[in-house]
Amino acid sequence: MLGKLTKNTFKANMSSVSNVYLAMGIIGIIMLALLVIDWTKWGDTGIGLGLVIKIISSAALCITAGLGIIMTIAGIVSEYQRNMFGAEGHLTMSLPVRSSTLLLSKWIAGSFWVVLSYLVLCLCAFGSFIYIIRHSVNIVQGNDMYYSVYELVIEMIEQLSYSAGIATPSMAVLLSLASIYAFDGAVRLIVFVLLIFFAITLSNCRPFHKTGKFGKILYFFLGFFAVSTFAGMITKFIKIYIIISETAYTFTLSQAEVAAAWDLGFGAYSITNLYCTAIAAVFVFLITTVLIDRRVNVS
């Protein structure tokens, strides 16, 4: 049942974002086509017409990707409201399925689309950065462009490490850190989607339904505040770090060990806030399920 429900929600969400991804695909093709043009023939020596056009197209891509996130969230909100509590709710809520299964299916599909849109935005931003740098480097240094971009990134990391007063971590450690940051971001986005569902569900319960769209936004921020406060309070008392070396991950409660790790070129990351947010999400999920079971009406 969960698989079938998720598949249906996935398709419903897809229909609301497909146009944005289509627009991004078209811009992407135009940007690839611009790579073929020999801009030196147009008098471009690195900073000229070609660069301006590439910056404009990159900005268009990034704006469309940003729009993609907004459209994705708007699509998820309207689909959840319509499918659970609107006219389609007459079908959805009469299915012989647990409300937790219904909510989970919406959560899985919604999280997928939100995380995807976020990844696409990151990819577009990073891709645009390389795309623009590549233009100038290509014209100035010819075929060594990929090596030069790599060198540029390494140099930026070294500068940042130097200004932070720590040893430059190795590429393996940097990749591990990047993965943990990405995982953290994904978890927070998933919780964000759940908070949206919680807010919509609460706004469909009596007497909260009277607050309308404003209420949905208010309940979302109230939920967000509650989760953040819970995670923040726990983090104040217990801080668990993960230390990342080239060969292993180790957990520690010691701040001294964390400082030492950075000095040795290792990475460190506090995971307390992350797991507290995840625990809070479980409670939000249970509360939302109870609301659907006991308080909500299909209108």
Binding site: A87, E88, G89, P96, R294, V298
Partner: protein
Amino acid sequence: MAFKSRKQKYSPEPFENESVTVENEDVGYPEEYAAPVQRKSDYAFKVRNLTKDYDGNVVLNNISFDIPSGKIVGLLGPNGCGKTTLMKILAGLIHDYTGMIKVDGKPIGIGSKAHVAYLPDCTFFPERFRTIDCINYYGDFFQDFDKVKAIEFAARFGLDLNQKVKTMSKGMKEKLQLLVVMSRSADIYLLDEPLGGVDPAARSVILDIIMNNYKENATVVLSTHLVNDLEHSFDHILMLGHGSILVNTGIETLRSTGKSVEEIFKEVIGDAWEVD
């Protein structure tokens, strides 16, 4: 704001001793090999002290009634008397009521929903769905759904399997919803105004579909204003008005008065709506 628990709100008075019949008792082979016996309540619905209000406007006011199983029940009443609300509560779509309800001997939940085929008075399929998607959707979620029967109905109604819901007229959407609901072999059918938006010619076809396709011994609850068209089909009448049950009786009892259902409807509802 603190929510009251559902237990607190329920009437402390329990249901009377419920009699149950046992189906498939004579299985014809040794008992240890028998399939699990299906126990079925004598009553399709048992409702006690049901109250529902919308922002203080009481729609159903402490009503209690039983509906026997295997009957075709006419749910009658004027506009705004709570027919749709009652249907929604029985189908499990409204939760913030007080009172106690059993559907086919079970509290409202997954167990009851699996046995109830509900037809609301609005379009409930997503607009992006095609006819075949709607049929497949029902097939995916209801074990008692007969896909072949649904496709046959679609052909009979002249519905293209690849036509999208958003391109359908109101009448076509109603036919589509009716065909999927009546393709189920459910124990209870809740049909909310199935004849509401269709022309008189289509009305008889729809009525024919309903009366010839529900599962044997199933209970059909049909809400309507068209008392005259349907009164010969009903076995049992439940009339609502002023938030109360005005009539809850078998059709024979009503007929013994020498009046038609429509006459009694006008009489009872007229009295209920009279202003002092």
